[in-house]
């Protein structure tokens, strides 16, 4: 069994997969990755099945010392990763040699990062069908908790393991690569309780801009901005909460329910974020702006299927497969990358 040691844990470093489905009726949050697209792309880059457990980190990432060789890929927010003293690439598979330290110090753009490890990812027991960490229940993932100093974490031996090569920085051409889209409108499907808001309230929701609050976490994204007027209070008879449900409590500002959300709740829900735009939302840091745009459920599903088909095509057209024997690190030249529009 291969392993790495956690030298620096980072702020919120956990093992996640797509989530623990099927237990919501008992009140279990699905947990799972915040940015499903970055997670899936990481697994794709190292040749894993789409749902192989990966390491998720936020804001400040971990430093890991590998005791064995590994093929890895880092996706999501740009964490300015380092392999020992060298710059390591984002969005590209590369080799970590035994004894090397891989660090993901801080998110320069975006919030959540992912480390995918080839040959099946981190080796943790599946609890109720999932490797995801449920922090509230202390269940799943690595001992049911976030990483801490000195943890020794197992992963599947990657020698010899082929992986996909898409060339350096291929993601610049990826239509779903989201750092060029951080100011894009977030598409939402209206309902299930949009009828509980006044037409002025609905106008406010779609015309005004909201700012990501500092009180945002894996459970929900709280937004600051103009109050949304309801027609008769914001309490409803508690019902189910889907991923991306946008609750409007009495104070009138939205809370978007995310991976660690409660399964049911009693605030009226004005709309639900389209699955394809959840990654755009969760990667927005405190104070960044969010503007909502309505789409139909049919359109939201069409977008999701188009994204899936795109990545299937990427995988099918991968230029070739490399092995551990081939050197593959190229310095990541950030100079040519599009710059972010200024954020107010």
């Amino acid at each position: 069994m291969a392993k790495f040691t956690v030298c620096v844990p980072g702020l919120l470093t956990t093992v996640q997969d797509r989530g623990r489905m099927g237990y919501a009726a008992s009140g279990f949050s699905p947990s799972g990755v915040m940015d499903r697209r970055a997670f899936s792309l990481g697994n794709l880059l190292v040749g894993n099945a789409a749902n192989a457990p990966a390491i998720e980190f936020a804001f400040a990432g971990p430093t890991l010392e590998f005791e064995n060789d590994a093929v890895v890929a880092i996706t999501g927010a740009d964490f300015n990763p380092r392999l020992d003293e060298e710059r390591a690439p984002m969005y590209q598979a590369f080799v970590v040699r035994a004894g090397q330290r891989l660090s993901m110090p801080a998110a320069e753009r975006g919030v959540y990062g992912y480390l995918a490890i080839a040959n099946g990812g981190v080796d943790v027991p599946r609890v109720m069908g999932s490797a995801s960490t449920n922090l509230k229940c202390g269940l799943g993932g690595f001992e049911g908790r976030r990483f801490t100093f000195g943890d020794v974490v197992n992963f599947h031996d990657t020698t010899p393991n082929p992986y996909y090569d898409f060339g350096p920085n291929h993601y610049r051409n990826d239509p779903f690569y989201h750092f060029e889209y951080l100011t894009q409108e977030i598409r939402v499907v209206p309902g299930p309780q949009s009828d509980l808001f006044t037409s002025r309230g609905i106008d406010t929701f779609y015309k005004e801009r909201y700012q990501v609050s500092a009180q945002t976490d894996r459970m929900g994204c709280r937004l600051d901005g103009p109050q949304i007027e309801s027609s008769r209070g914001s309490d409803i008879i508690s019902d189910g909460i889907a991923l991306g449900s946008i609750q409007i409590p009495a104070q009138g500002t939205p809370i978007v329910m995310l991976a660690d959300r409660q399964t049911t709740g009693g605030y009226a829900k004005i709309a639900t974020v389209a699955s394809v735009d959840i990654p755009l939302l969760v990667q927005r840091a405190t104070k960044q702006y969010v503007q909502f745009k309505p789409v139909s459920v049919i359109e939201a599903q069409r977008l999701l299927v188009a994204e899936r088909d795109y990545y299937r095509n990427v995988r099918a057209n991968a230029r070739g497969r490399l092995t551990l024997e081939m050197p593959c690190i190229e310095p990541n030249d950030h100079a040519g990358e599009p710059t972010m529009p200024p954020v107010e």
Partner: protein, 241 residues
Amino acid sequence: MRPYQICVCGDSAINIVVADTISAEASALVRSAAARIQAAGIAGIEDIVPTFCAVMVAYNPETISYEELVSAVHANLDGLSAEGASAGKTIVIPVCYGGEFGPDLEHVAQFHSITPDEVVRLHTEPTYLIAMLGFLPGFAYLSGLNPDLETPRLEVPRVRIEAGAVGIGGAQTGIYPLPSPGGWQIIGRSPLRPYDAEREPAFLYAAGDSIEFEAISPDEYAEIEAALQAGTYEYRVKEAM
């Protein structure tokens, strides 16, 4: 005319709504609908969440589209009716009301222009039916709250509510199984833990069981807490007749 409506909850869930007020009949309809959907084994369904008046069905739209799911739901809910739900057990939950354990007891009393003692009396009087579990593992939504105690939720939810906290949120009352953010008015706390992964069984109750609250003093709270830690506490359960 179908006895339910389907509401869109984004691109990956629908809500099958059977009623707009809480009732025993709504609960029975919900449980019946959830059981039918479960039994149908429709590919792509990821979660079935029965609630007071609706069943939320979460699905993977890469496997089944919205239109396909709606057709499958209609096909399986044809002739839906409230079938008799079997009676469950009743568990007694000791609660220390007010003080540091129930910071909102005074507010709830003032809101209704009654004394805190009267709030406690009205809250411990009924036998509450567990209509559903949700929100958190082991969080029971109870029906049976005296309408005289209905109190709006906090305008700004608290960032942390302690495990065992007992609260009122609108027309609902219940006990928090784990520390959590929440918007209910907290009127007391129980030393019992409705969900404990280390305990067998992990859940004290299931949908269809009932709960009674019993007022205890801070000293009794401490005694029960000590008994729970020592493993000597005996849960008080009344089996269904």
